[in-house]
């Protein structure tokens, strides 16, 4: 007899009770679930956009497909979803599949009717603009949503916008298809020297203002899932000091349309498309001192397969008339024409905008190419390019994080722009 066989004979009777000691007295809920013999054929998420869920979590959800139903694994994913989706309650439901002895797992997210949560997004650092941040609280109860935010951001407009934003929405006016809202913003903008210097050379562009207040009531209709139409008013008061202290009004009709959709195609390809149009028309009919019409079109497309993602973003905008500075388009920030300083591109912004961005991501790694121009009517557009690399992900509950290094494509002064932060 071989020594190994002898050892087995001696120790096997001992090994059995030792193994039994490691077992729990009974089966856990997951082990005892009769459905664990079925194979998962499909995993879906209901009640919230897929984009709200981090890619790694979504990938782990998809890994359930083809496996035997495992309640512990599903429960673990429910907990991860609850962590990521603040303000939502999440549950999992298992249904019969389309194929015999298969099941489908549905993760269902429902917005909490009574919730209080904190916003901390965007929080962005741009080496040419310093920090931009928005912090605030939101309360949601029985279709009523109210938020208070303090913001200081140089990442959107020509000016640094600092102040308070208050918003109230009733998200069910008789039906969930209709919402009403009202916003009130109070800003104390700061204009830097390049903008002030450029203004002196551009008498056609309205001047700087000390404070800006915006009262904006609106009505929204959501006829289809992913489609939203909004009409309203934007009643803005600008306090100017130059040439004499006075208040001027930018009273505009507003109209917005947004649509987004997702398609999961064969072969694991996922297509995500979103499009938005915004119109602002300031008119003497509203006793506005400024008279202008502003159009902005935006479209985003993302193609994803496994850990690869290809993103395309495009924006086109035009302004007719003399719009105040906050309406003018600006490029050269942490998401438009990355790598450029907005004051090098157009210190006063422009009344015309064309911008595109191509980006490839593999897991958190990104490489991108931005291109675009802002200019005024009657001028020649100069297209600028920026390229960069970085890391990006959606690992936080407040939004996606990024760390990017971008360079302007030009012959001199090609120093990098460092950007990092979180943004929804």
């Amino acid at each position: 007899m071989k020594p190994t066989s002898l050892l087995l004979i001696v120790f096997l009777p001992l090994a059995v009770p030792v193994a039994a000691l490691g077992q729990q007295p009974g089966a856990s809920g997951a082990e005892a679930n009769v459905n664990s013999r079925y194979v998962v054929e499909k995993v879906s998420l209901e009640g919230i956009d897929d984009a709200a869920v981090g890619k790694s979590l979504r990938a782990d959800m998809d890994k359930l497909v083809g496996q035997k139903y495992d309640q512990d694994a599903v429960n673990a994913l429910v907990e991860r979803l609850r962590k990521e989706l603040r303000g939502f309650s999440v549950d999992a439901r298992v249904r019969r599949g389309d194929t015999q002895d298969h099941v489908s797992v549905v993760f269902k997210a429902e917005r909490n009717l009574n919730a209080l949560y904190m916003h901390a997004s965007p929080l962005v650092y741009h080496s040419q603009e310093a920090f931009s941040a928005t912090l605030g609280f939101a309360v949601e109860t029985h279709h009523n949503y109210a938020s208070v935010n303090w913001t200081t951001t140089a990442d959107e407009l020509v000016e640094r916008n600092e102040g308070w934003r208050l918003r109230y929405e009733h998200r069910r006016v008789g039906t969930s298809l209709v919402q009403v809202g009202v916003g009130y913003d109070w800003f104390h903008p700061a204009f830097l020297a390049p903008t002030r210097a450029a203004l002196a050379l551009s008498p056609d562009v309205p001047g700087v203002y000390r404070t800006r207040q915006d009262f904006a009531p609106s009505v929204s209709v959501l006829p289809l899932n992913g489609v939203k139409f909004t009409v309203g008013l934007s009643l803005q008061n600008l306090d100017l000091d130059v040439p004499t202290p006075r208040t001027e009004h930018a009273f505009a009709f507003t109209a917005d349309a947004q649509a987004q959709g997702k398609i999961v195609a064969a072969g694991g390809y996922r297509h995500a498309i979103s499009a938005a149009y915004s119109l602002r028309r300031a008119t003497p009919a509203l006793e506005s001192d400024f008279v202008y019409t502003r159009h902005l079109f935006a479209g985003d497309y993302t193609l994803t397969k496994h850990r690869h993602a290809f993103l395309f973003r495009g924006r086109l905008g035009t302004i007719d008339g003399a719009a105040p500075l906050f309406e003018r388009y600006s490029l050269g920030n942490s998401y438009l024409l990355r790598g450029w300083n907005k004051f090098d591109v157009a210190p006063l912004g422009g009344s015309r905008l064309a911008h595109g961005s191509l980006e490839y991501r593999y897991r958190p790694f990104q490489i991108f190419w931005d291109f675009g121009s802002v200019w005024d009517a009657g001028q020649t557009a100069t297209v600028r390019h920026g390229i960069g690399i970085g890391l990006a992900g959606r690992a936080t509950s407040v939004g996606g994080w990024f760390f990017s290094l971008a360079f302007p494509v030009r012959m001199n002064d090609v120093g990098p722009v460092v950007m990092f932060g979180i943004r929804r």
């Binding site: 007295p25 009974g26 089966a27 856990s28 809920g29 997951a30 082990e31 005892a32 679930n33 009769v34 459905n35 079925y38 139903y69 309640q71 907990e79 609850r82 962590k83 603040r86 549950d91 999992a92 439901r93 298992v94 249904r95 019969r96 015999q100 002895d101 099941v103 797992v105 909490n112 009574n114 919730a115 209080l116 949560y117 904190m118 901390a120 609280f137 509950s397 407040v398």
Partner: protein, 197 residues
């Protein structure tokens, strides 16, 4: 004199209502039989596969139930005994039948049961031992059934302002369902041994 029958009818109606309310406030009725050295419990009108737990079962989850049997002397003097058993119930989504695992060493399991059969199987599996009481001493058997609450594992975020806000803005969780039954006062001397039939 015509008013007297009306008063009687009204009084009778009130008596019925009061009796009904009093009965509904009492725990449900538990039938107890002797089987050798054990007590066998049954309660045909007792249903714990209902409401939110049943909804969870139909959603494919396994639901653990905890049964506690208490045997209590009516007028003191004896020892109260307790017995706890845990059953994990699940609902077969394809066969539309219930399956149960009774935890223990070794675990017992059964499947392909209707709801009523599954409920009866759990009660039938409890089998508390005979109380160590004199045959003439009265006792009551009480049964409590509850669903183990969902455990919420720590999120791992640590104590941050966000987690605090999230915590305080959560709705209070509904208490897990619980059912209670009790037998009429019994004496060992009155219980016929079913195993000797």
């Amino acid at each position: 004199m015509e008013g007297q029958p009306r008063v009687a009818v009204r009084a009778a109606a009130w008596a019925v209502v009061v009796t009904a309310v009093a009965l509904s406030a009492q725990p449900g009725s538990l039938n107890v039989e002797r089987q050798g050295d054990h007590l066998r419990l049954s309660a045909p009108s007792f249903h714990f596969l209902e409401g939110r737990p049943l909804e969870r079962l139909h959603n494919g989850a396994a639901v653990p139930y905890l049964f506690t049997v208490t045997i209590e002397p009516v007028q003191g003097g004896g020892r109260t005994t307790h017995l706890q058993r845990r059953f994990v119930v699940s609902y077969d989504l394809w066969e539309e039948k219930f399956a149960i695992v009774q935890e223990g060493r070794p675990p017992r399991s059964v499947s392909h049961l209707s709801a009523a059969a599954a409920e009866a199987w759990c009660l039938d599996s409890l089998l508390p031992g005979l109380p160590s009481l004199p045959a003439e001493k009265s006792f009551v058997v009480k049964l409590a059934c509850s669903v183990a609450a969902d455990e919420e594992p720590p999120t791992g975020d640590g104590l941050t302002l966000s987690t605090l806000i999230e915590f305080f803005s959560r709705k209070g969780a509904a208490p897990p369902p619980r059912w209670e039954l009790a037998s009429a006062p019994l004496r060992l001397a009155d219980l016929k041994d079913r195993s000797r039939r």
